[in-house]
Symmetry: C2
Subunit: 330 residues, 2 copies
């Protein structure tokens, strides 16, 4: 499928569009000649950053608003061909310390966005991003979409409700929707000011700064990383065809890496920093989910998607981006 | 297990305590010599009715408040040994026409109640009532707890989130909690003013009034009915032992009945009314989930529970109750 052809001239709304994945997607869509509107609340610490769209700022419409505000989403969804619904909090820790904010954004706002679509643009196609946190501890590996959902934090519960509203609105109201359950995504444009949204980009910062990368315990737990460009490709493919409507798909790498090996790969890509193994902190143990890697065969079968950027290559590009733009992210 | 022994002198809080199941439970607990507080918002049409506790009104504390009000739940949970957390909306249709209210009550309030417990009474044991609506259309029968969850309405999604918060708080904070996924429950004290909370009690009203009972299509879909006294017994057993903590259990009858046969049984119990088969309405088709009956073997194994009141006997008791107290429910 020629994605450029598919999205040229199309109107695309991206919630969370100033954030990590949203801004990478905006850049790609803008390059295809799509009419892109990015929506972001720029809440401190969530990952939205105006610099993320610096290179395309004259070609995209930037709308600062919060997905919790139904009045603005009522207006913003009108006339859009695609809604890439990526706004959400990602922090497992934050979701436990402030569960209500997590609920408002990841659960209630999703319902509210879908109601906006139902009322003002039922022809839109919605691409939702779920998370591997919905599965909780893996009962078997690799995790496919039939694996039971047993979230181990509030974030996983609220994301599941948010995802299911999409499938429900697809089935009952015909608002075409698809969900991709993302695994650990890394790459340029991720916020670099705290480690609460996933550890790999934080490791990149520590390495660039020549600091110690702390590994809890032996760091043998397996993780499944996707470079952000591959995830952007997957979101576009999921949006491009109607055979994905009402479906839920895993993404994954096909090549899981242990936490300690991922740290070593970061250190190698950066050429600076060092490893520091420490005992596992108690409060992190409670929500540590063990080995995880996904079977993305269902999505590959429908769209042909598979990751193209290797883990070391992705890390090299990431380090290069942040070395060049450090002052925008540190 | 001697439940009277177990609950005598215990402090029990029942949310939704003026409603159908809650008030039947309150009566049983009060008879055991427990200190019962019933909490209910008495929202029009939800099922709360002061007459439901008329026979025990001098022995229970009645607190009119809404579970959405965290300030009152903060106070009410203090000092309680057991929290039977039954407040919730039950209407599939209402959950689609007003999804936000369903979310506030079935999802957000559950988180809020658990936060109240975490802060002011972490030693309480919480018994939550889930629903067969969490499963959606049965992919196999009987439905056990490993069956995938695919809710076909907002109510099923929000109930799932509400249930999972309970399991999460059990696992992470040690707030002991158990969920029973109820199937169709019938019996005395159910509201009788509309049919949006399940059809069987509505059939009882129609039969008592000598009216026609409408069956959509052939009425061959199977349903799984529990008489309310059996459900009360199950809630008490789930609360009584710590081996249920963090677990989810189905209830069921072991003897599914078709919709049309359930109507015939109602007509027989009442001795009045008649059957009327009509075409299936379109908007009901969309959320009709087909045959359903549950495997309750997991719960039976842990507690020994099984239903004691047969379907015809339950219907006779139900008809008798409403014939005697018609003016309180019609």
């Amino acid at each position: 499928m020629d994605l450029a052809d598919r999205f040229r001239g199309k109107r695309c709304l991206i919630t969370g569009g100033l954030g990590f994945i949203g801004s990478n997607l905006a850049e790609r869509l803008s390059g295809y000649g799509a009419w892109v509107t990015v929506v972001d609340s720029l809440i401190e610490g969530y990952g939205g950053n105006l610099f993320n769209v610096e290179s395309i700022k004259d070609r995209v419409r930037i709308n600062i608003s919060d997905v919790r505000d139904q009045s603005s989403t009522n207006w913003l969804v009108r006339g859009q061909d695609y809604l890439f619904n990526l706004a959400g909090t990602l922090s497992h820790i934050d979701s436990m310390t402030d569960p209500f904010t997590d609920l408002e954004i990841n659960c209630r706002s999703q319902l509210s966005i879908l109601e906006s679509c139902r009322k003002f643009n039922p022809a839109v196609k919605v691409i939702f991003s779920g998370t591997r946190g919905q599965y909780g501890r893996a009962q078997y590996l690799p995790v496919d979409e039939k694996h039971p959902l047993c979230p181990t934090d509030t974030n996983g519960i609220n994301n599941t409700a948010g995802e299911w509203y999409h499938i429900l609105y697809n089935n009952v109201y015909g608002i075409r929707a698809v969900s991709l359950r993302l695994t650990n995504v890394f790459g340029p444009r991720h916020q670099m000011r705290h480690s609460r949204q996933g550890y790999l980009n934080w490791f990149v910062r520590l390495a660039i700064d020549g600091e110690k990368i702390q590994i809890y315990g032996d760091g043998a737990q397996l993780r499944d990383f996707n470079y952000v460009d591959d995830v952007v490709e997957a979101l576009l493919l999921a949006g491009a065809v109607d055979s994905t409507n009402g479906e839920i798909y895993n993404l994954g790498s096909g090549a899981p890496v242990s936490v300690v090996d991922s740290a070593r790969a970061v250190l190698e890509a950066a050429g600076t920093g060092q490893l520091d193994q420490v005992p596992f902190p108690e409060e992190k143990k409670k929500i540590e989910v063990g080995d995880y890697y996904a079977d993305f065969g269902k999505f590959k079968q429908v769209t042909g998607w598979e990751p193209r950027v290797s883990f070391p290559e992705g890390l090299r590009r990431t380090v290069k981006y942040y070395r060049k733009n450090k002052e925008q992210y540190w």
